[in-house]
């Protein structure tokens, strides 16, 4: 048995909020608000049904949910509102397949199903005192948003906090209504970039890994937290390693096709780890071989 294996067996799974009851049975929830972010991304704000359901629901930043449209199916999304938001749960959904198409067609007031919270979360306690460099690519900004807002709520406990948020074009950027807040936030160094910039674009132009190299954040006492499409993760991790970040200090969330969400159905595993229970948040040294 290797040392990492031993360490892992001792460490076990981090305690986390779990679903009660039959884990396959969704909780009823209702769509409260729909925000059109881009041509392909909508943000749904949903409220769990039932007396006190929202108050009883606890989760940690980074945990995910399976959203059901009954008759169509289920798909996994990160809860991208911070845990302090008790009025609703927020999900940003890019329309790509059957379920996301059905989610995009919902109207306010319609009922859906929610299985949550699933998965692990960002180890924000372990990150206290460190500089954090957040990197979000496209829809990958969703999980980053949760942990970033959570960390910003207690900014004094952390070192410098930075964000690099990139998308293909300015039109593909979600959370437009928050970008000014982020750019002007006193505790956040926010950089925006797009692959192809129009003339009036005041921010950076270029692919995330390249812009990152230009920004060249120092790896000293720093942790990088990133999420985005698989190809962006691959090259951004390479760039971070090139800047001197240790693989252990690069945290990423992985997305895989999921069905059960509870570590059984065998779809989302990365080697012996399951994205749905051991993830979605991983330290890069655990999964580098599979990126």
């Amino acid at each position: 048995m290797s040392e990492t294996q031993k360490a892992r067996m001792l460490e076990g799974l981090a305690p986390r909020p779990l679903m009660p009851g039959n884990p396959y049975l969704p909780m009823p929830a209702r769509v409260r608000e729909i925000i059109t972010e881009t041509a392909t991304i909508k943000t749904l704000r949903v409220v769990l049904e039932g007396e006190g359901a929202m108050e009883r629901f606890h989760f940690e930043p980074g945990q995910v949910a399976q959203l059901s449209v009954f008759g169509v199916g289920e798909a996994t999304f990160v809860i991208n509102s911070p845990p302090s938001q008790k009025d609703y749960l927020q999900f940003s959904i890019m329309e790509v397949g059957e379920v996301t198409h059905a989610l995009h067609n919902l109207s306010v007031g319609e009922q859906i199903g929610v299985r949550a919270p699933l998965g692990n979360f960002f180890p924000y306690e372990e990150l206290r005192g460190k500089n954090i460099f957040f990197i979000g690519g496209g829809i990958g900004m969703a999980p980053v948003r949760t942990i970033m807002l959570h960390v910003l709520e207690q900014a004094k406990d952390y070192g410098s906090i930075s964000l690099l948020y990139g998308a293909r074009t300015p039109k593909d950027m979600s959370y437009q209504y928050e970008l000014d807040d982020w750019l002007n936030h006193r505790d956040l160094h926010c950089t925006l970039c797009v692959d192809k910039a129009p003339e009036d674009w005041p921010h950076r132009e270029g692919m995330i890994p390249n812009v990152l190299k230009e920004l060249a954040p120092s790896p000293d006492n720093s942790v990088a937290v990133l999420c985005g499409p698989p190809i962006m993760i691959k090259f951004t991790v390479e760039a971070l390693l090139g800047l001197g970040f240790a693989a252990h200090d690069i945290l990423t969330t992985l997305e895989r096709r999921m069905k059960c969400g509870i570590g059984i159905c065998g779809r989302c595993n990365v080697g012996s780890r399951y994205v749905c229970t051991d993830g979605p948040v991983f330290r890069c040294d655990d999964i580098q071989a599979y990126l």
């Binding site: 008759g71 790509v96 199903g113 059984i264 990365v270």
Partner: protein, 361 residues
């Protein structure tokens, strides 16, 4: 003093009837005609022929049916035909007690391997738990090895008791029944089967001979480590998977493959009602991990074979402390192109450490 009981061959039917009387649905191996005979575990009824042959397909469907309803849903329609409320009916507690007659030790051990992720993980699976609780397993020991099975490689054997409630040994004129669990003891106590007496010694002797008949098993201690080293060695897996057809024969006949899919099925007319189904799925198919975006982390059959073999001999052992292969050999016999899991594991072990690392591409 042994508490073994004796079940004469001509009393098999009566015994199974007795079990039905206790509330069990009885499943036994049954021969079905076709291009060639197939032995399948099917519900036994009085008058059915009693077969003792090893089944073509493992009995795992008694715990994990090929498809099962997770819940039913019904939409209540509001304005403009939009769904205003959804009613869900939980079907997790509907399984009835089942008795499995004449499984083989590899089948029964297979159950223990499926038990761990389904019962001991972060969440217990309520559908599986209910079925498992109601399942009584009567296992027939094998009196010899066979060319394609290798239970003793993976920690089992022709008379290994794991997963069984009662072990049965075929001594020609009848079966010697030995209780393994409390459930098994209770079943034997409730029966009027005679004590086995001297037949018990005969059974012990047969079991010993069965063990002796086996070829020496290779040492698989290094398998998890070697397979982990080989995880991203695409050349190795491309070579091993060249003939693979990406069908699901290996996974569906396997007693320990437990992957599934979940999908919603609507009734014919629109959105009013339907079911959420869980159904067998195979990691050897490309669509298994294909995401809606088109991205597929296991797009190549080499990657899928790597995942299947490594799950059984590296990933699962890392998580649960045992191989998840009971060595039944069904994947070997039923693979249309003869891919042999034994050869792959041995090839991985035979690869020197340095080579495994260097060959990484």
């Amino acid at each position: 003093m042994s508490n073994d009981r004796f079940l004469a061959k001509d009393a098999l039917g009566d015994f199974l009837c007795h079990c039905q009387g206790l509330g069990y649905t009885v499943y036994s191996p049954q021969k079905q005609e076709g291009v060639r005979e197939s032995v399948v575990f099917a519900p036994w009824q009085k008058g059915c022929e009693i077969q003792l042959a090893k089944a073509t397909v493992s009995p795992k469907h008694l715990l994990l049916p090929q498809s099962e309803v997770l819940f039913r849903f019904r939409h209540e329609k509001g304005e403009e035909g939009k769904s205003s409320a959804v009613h869900l009916e939980d079907t997790s507690q509907q399984a009835q007690p089942t008795l499995l007659f004449a499984a083989r030790p590899c089948d029964a051990r297979g159950f223990t391997m499926v038990d761990r992720p389904y019962l001991q993980g972060l969440y217990a699976d309520p559908y599986y738990a209910k079925r498992r609780e109601g399942l009584c397993v009567l296992t027939l020991c094998c009196n010899s090895g066979c060319e394609s099975c290798f239970c003793h490689w993976t920690g089992g054997g022709p008379s290994s008791p794991e997963g069984s409630d009662i072990l049965m040994t075929d001594i020609a004129e009848g079966l010697v029944l030995q209780a393994i669990t409390e459930k098994g003891r209770k079943l034997l106590a409730q029966s009027d089967l005679p004590e086995a007496g001297a037949a018990s010694d005969q059974a012990t002797e047969l079991r010993r001979k069965a063990w002796q008949s086996l070829d020496k098993a290779p040492d698989l201690t290094e398998a998890p480590h070697k397979l982990k080293e080989l995880a991203d060695n695409l050349d190795f897996w491309t070579e091993q998977s060249r003939a693979c057809l990406s069908c699901g024969a290996c996974t569906y006949v396997c007693p320990t493959c437990y992957c599934f899919s979940i999908s919603d099925e609507r009734r014919f007319s629109g959105m009013e009602e339907g079911v959420r189904l869980r159904s067998w799925d195979t990691c050897m198919a490309r669509h298994f991990t294909e995401e809606a975006s088109g991205h597929n982390p296991r797009a190549l059959k080499a990657q899928r074979l790597q995942n299947r073999i490594s799950h059984k001999y590296a990933g699962y052992p890392e998580n649960w402390g045992s191989f998840s292969c009971s060595g039944c050999g069904r994947c070997v016999t039923h693979c249309p192109v003869g891919i042999d899991i034994r050869h792959i594991v041995l090839a991985a072990i035979a690869l020197p450490d340095t080579q495994a690392k260097e060959a990484r591409s």
